[in-house]
Amino acid sequence: MTELGLNIENLSIAFDRGRKEAISGLDLKVLPSQALGLVGESGSGKSLASRAALGLLPRKARVTGRITLDGQSVLELSPAQLRRIRGSGIAMIFQDPMSSLNPVVRVGEAIAQVIRSHESVAQGVALERAVALMARVGIRDPETRMRSFPHEFSGGMRQRIMIAMALAARPRMLLADEPTTALDVIVQDGILKLLDQLRRDEGMGLLLVSHDLAVVGSVCDRIAVMYAGQIVEEGPAMDVLMRSRMPYTVGLHASTQRSKTLKRLPSIPGAPPPLGERPASCRFAARCPLVAPQCLAGPVPLVSVGSDHMARCVRTAEVANLDRATFTVREREAAHNG
């Protein structure tokens, strides 16, 4: 039986002749019509992982593991086969819509090109469908706007054009890499709602990559948290957000706090270890308020901490003692957790 959706198994990607491992043993699964949020800081490997799913890897990368899309192994495809599944099987939108659009092609034509590269339809039909897609992603007056060039649109509208292009070949899986990071909050809100609606209406799988736990939480049903090249927590969105079992997730949660009762914003002290200097034991230990000798003893596996909820931590029981608002250890509340 073929496994539907996007399935990443034990993926490792290293650079510099294997000396610098950017991603270590990553497992990730996005089912059709499911939205998975992949969260992490810059350098955590989250963008690299999503690009790998499209077969977009730097030539010098050393890759092991398996990536399958609806049962088809992405890493073993020829360039011609890859081109065929890019667009119709899996499509991607990026952070910066300006540099992903050809500035001298009218947007209607750009969308029609995508349609015609996957289906043999007449130009007129393709343009009609382009107009329908522009309307679908919330661009007003698409019959007129299809003749505009990318620079005539605002950042948010350009991102909608990118989404229309991504949808043009009816992909079964959409990867969105920080799609709203360059946009202001009101525009971001509109794009997130659009992505959420599209995935429900089209039954499309969605992998949303972001550094912002709140962005991911407002769209996704599952969340995977990445730190220094590893998944450190994964589970249903509410469990990961509200019943975090990994101190790093608690820290990310704390850094979104804006309560005026605090004198300073909570933040995670320090910075992630650079490539090539990641410890064999817990990679977060140097920044963790709960660090104990057993954290430094050896590699930490992902352990089950609830139904369908996993965390990479040896002190998952004690994580409940961390204050989600301030990322400090609460006193005298140890009795709370079982």
Partner: protein, 278 residues
């Protein structure tokens, strides 16, 4: 009574269309309609609005990076708009700006220490023999090790680069720091560190800060008074006696509602108890 350090009076700016097909400049929609406000010593003042609301134009006019069409920028009893370029150059030291993109605002071929030293030497703020010590002091002030002086900007992450940009602004010993979306391009976890740094600097140096952004919750946290801008106009000033939750203007409310927050996520989820997970 404490006098404001900066008084902005009716500052406006419009950009005329250039070229053969340009219409009359007077018909151009102003990027900034006449705006007035005051900044107190040691105050952090927030300016919030979506892209295109005129907040950056306002900042550029205050720093005289752009000459306003009308109005006055009163700094220490002197109208900066009335000064000529040469006189202005002497005052530029006092108002420093930190920009959104820390990748574009540092010279990639200048070592961090040299970038900071340049500012001090240009403004004659330190003698050559004292420069090295002063550079180390500045780096320490923004939470970077003194060995950072010997590296090029490429060696640093986005958050570290923004610290370097802040250190470079501080090298001029400014009275006012304008931070134009200083954290918008940074990870959430790093945003908190930079915001805390600005709060520390305000406390330690009695610096007056104008903080511009689009995340109203973040701005509300660090600025007691917030100016809300829409389509080139100041539509509301919140804070002080009016807490932000009592903001009246519908646009201010829209800005607040648009910020994704985990509290909202939790509320949404609890209203739909059985969310389909697959």
């Amino acid at each position: 009574m404490v006098e404001p350090i900066l008084r902005v009076e009716g500052v406006s700016k419009s950009y005329a269309r250039r070229g053969l097909l340009a219409r009359d400049a007077t018909t151009a929609r102003p990027a900034l309609s006449p705006a007035s406000f005051e900044l107190m010593p040691g105050e952090i003042l927030g300016i919030v609005g979506e892209s295109g609301s005129g907040k950056t134009t306002l900042a550029r006019c205050i720093a005289l990076l752009e000459r306003p069409d009308t109005g006055r920028v009163m700094f220490r009893g002197e109208d900066l708009v009335a000064l000529n370029e040469r006189e202005l150059r002497k005052r530029r030291r006092a108002i420093q700006t930190v920009f959104q993109d820390p990748y574009a605002s540092l010279n990639p071929r200048l070592k961090v220490g040299d970038a900071l030293a340049e500012v001090m030497l240009v403004h004659r703020l330190a003698e050559r023999r004292h420069v090295r010590g002063r550079v180390a002091e500045l780096l320490d002030q923004v939470g970077l090790p003194s060995r950072a002086a010997h590296d090029y900007p490429a060696a640093f992450s986005g958050g570290q680069r923004q610290r370097i940009c802040i250190a470079r602004a501080l090298a001029a010993q400014p009275d006012i720091l304008i931070a134009d979306e200083p954290v918008s391009s940074l990870d959430v976890s790093v945003q908190a560190q930079v915001v805390n740094l600005l709060l520390d600097l305000r406390d330690r140096l009695q610096l007056s800060v104008i903080f511009i952004g689009h995340d109203l919750h973040l701005i509300d946290f660090l600025a007691p008074r917030v100016i809300v801008m829409l389509a080139g106009e100041i539509v509301e000033t919140v804070g002080g006696d009016v807490p932000i939750t009592d903001a009246r203007h519908p646009y201010t409310r829209a800005l607040m509602d648009a910020v994704p927050s985990l509290e909202k996520v939790a509320a949404r989820q609890s209203s739909t108890p059985e969310s389909p997970s697959r």
